[in-house]
């Protein structure tokens, strides 16, 4: 007899670990699996997340995962003119390092962060298995589904009422259910970043726009703690005939920051794909829902996905806890309300951002496009922005 759970979660990133924790806190029997031996590694992320995003989902802010506190943003146009949004200056009573003051957000170490999130889930009663890969699922009539796993070379089948696909951007779980998960090549940024020594930063997330530096995307310089920085960029391949590596070298050696980078030493090399795309139109199937990057819960302008993975996890965990007490079968039709709940809380705003982004890249005139992207990024990070919270 296979073991039976209320829910099985595949993937212990921010989305999966949060879904699992919240579901267990609300009384469900939960299994959380991840194929990695060490969560978060190899790193495919810069780790910037707002304080609000952590507080909202009840993640205690601890030294264990913080690399550096953040107090604002610097947005640059292609020539280096900047709009600086420093909360230490704009709201000095609230933001800063003194007594009773707080940072706006943090750069976290994804290895430590993901491990911490899994620990929270585990402490809430979730059963957690590392080195366990999800291989497939079969819906079993109306009351459950069977999930095939491989754990340290052993094939194991478990049963659950709902399978949660939180397996990130490379998601296979959605494909198992035949969902349309495909991302367009014009909407997936190819990213590369270096963690470097000897590049000064000042508590700001710096974002550099301009087709010359990062066609279709943007470049960034983030503080990384211990005097280190992250320098990286993402490009859309259809807008350049060079790869991200070439563009990053070009940015380091030719941009208005070249003096600042002149002494830099590379300590780590990381990369990944960042979807500047809309959420999946269908994020549920019989006995299955998707959350986080797997459902493309990613901000289509910034590419940021930690906040949306965490809050998507909260929505999914709460939804499942409530839904499963009703005793209704977890058919696609019934699980649609998960997506409705998500759209209302986050998704509709993400669709608006997607329209805005699409509009900018529809402009063929490069100078005009650069201007629009700079303007949009600057207003996006402004304290009055209606999108501030995603």
């Amino acid at each position: 007899m296979p073991s039976t759970y209320d829910i099985v979660v595949i993937g212990s990133g921010p989305a999966g670990a949060t879904t699992a924790r919240v579901a267990a806190e609300n009384g469900l029997r939960v299994l959380l699996v991840d194929k990695r031996q060490e969560l978060g590694a190899p790193i495919q992320c810069s780790g910037a997340v707002s304080r609000h995003a952590l507080e909202e989902v009840g993640v205690p802010i601890t030294e264990e995962f913080i690399q550096e506190p953040i107090y604002g943003f610097g947005i640059y146009d292609h020539q280096g003119s900047a709009s600086i949004i420093d909360y230490r200056q704009m709201k000095p009573d609230e933001y800063g390092t003194g007594d009773g003051k707080k940072p706006l957000g943090y750069v976290v170490d994804r290895r430590r962060f993901d491990r911490y999130l899994m620990t929270l889930a585990e402490r809430a009663g979730v059963e957690t298995w590392l080195k366990t890969e999800g291989l497939g699922y079969t819906p079993n009539g109306s009351d459950s589904c069977e999930i095939r796993l491989r754990r340290f070379n052993e094939d194991i089948t478990v049963k659950a009422k709902v399978l949660v696909g939180a397996d990130g951007l490379q998601s296979q779980v959605g494909k198992w259910a035949g969902l349309r998960t495909h991302i367009k090549i014009t909407e997936l940024a190819s990213c590369l970043q270096f963690v470097v020594d000897r590049v000064e930063t000042s508590g700001l997330l710096e974002i550099i726009t301009g087709h010359e530096w990062a066609p279709g995307g943007y470049a960034w310089v983030f503080p990384k703690g211990h005097g280190y920085a992250e320098v990286g960029l993402g490009v859309i391949c259809t807008m350049t005939d060079k790869n991200a590596q070439w563009h990053l070298d070009h940015f380091l050696q030719r941009s208005f920051f070249k003096e600042r980078f002149a002494d830099s030493r590379i300590l780590e090399i990381q990369g990944g794909g960042v979807p500047l795309a809309a959420p999946l139109r269908t994020q549920y199937a019989d006995h299955l829902i998707l959350v986080g990057d797997a459902a493309r819960h990613v901000n289509p302008i910034t590419g940021g996905g930690i906040h949306t993975a965490l809050s998507g996890g909260l929505i999914a965990g709460r939804f499942l806890a409530k839904f499963l007490t009703t005793g209704q079968p977890a058919t696609a039709g019934n699980l649609k309300s998960y997506q409705d709940a998500w759209l209302e809380k986050l998704g509709d705003k993400m669709w608006q951002l997607y329209e805005e982004k699409t509009q900018i890249f529809r402009t063929n005139d490069l100078e005009e496009r650069d201007r629009q992207l700079y303007r949009t990024m600057s207003s996006y990070f402004h304290p009055e922005s209606e999108y501030k919270k995603i």
């Binding site: 490379q170 495909h182 997936l188 391949c237 790869n243 990381q270 990944g272 794909g273």
Partner: protein
Amino acid sequence: MSHRDPVIFQIGWNACINCGACVAICPQEAGFISDFDTIAVGRPCDIACMLCEDICPVTTITHREVQKFQIDEINAA
């Protein structure tokens, strides 16, 4: 969509940074993945859209074309 012959990919592991972008863009069916979380190597891809090569930030994916009739032999081996 493509009228090309199927391709078999090779990955220069020395340059691969294990970023997963090739898998993220790939429209193949579930499981077309190597043991190192890249697109599959050593078995043919009949879609041959080449998006995986395009998205790779360090251009470390290369391919050779195989004729459709050769695929059975490869699979048999």
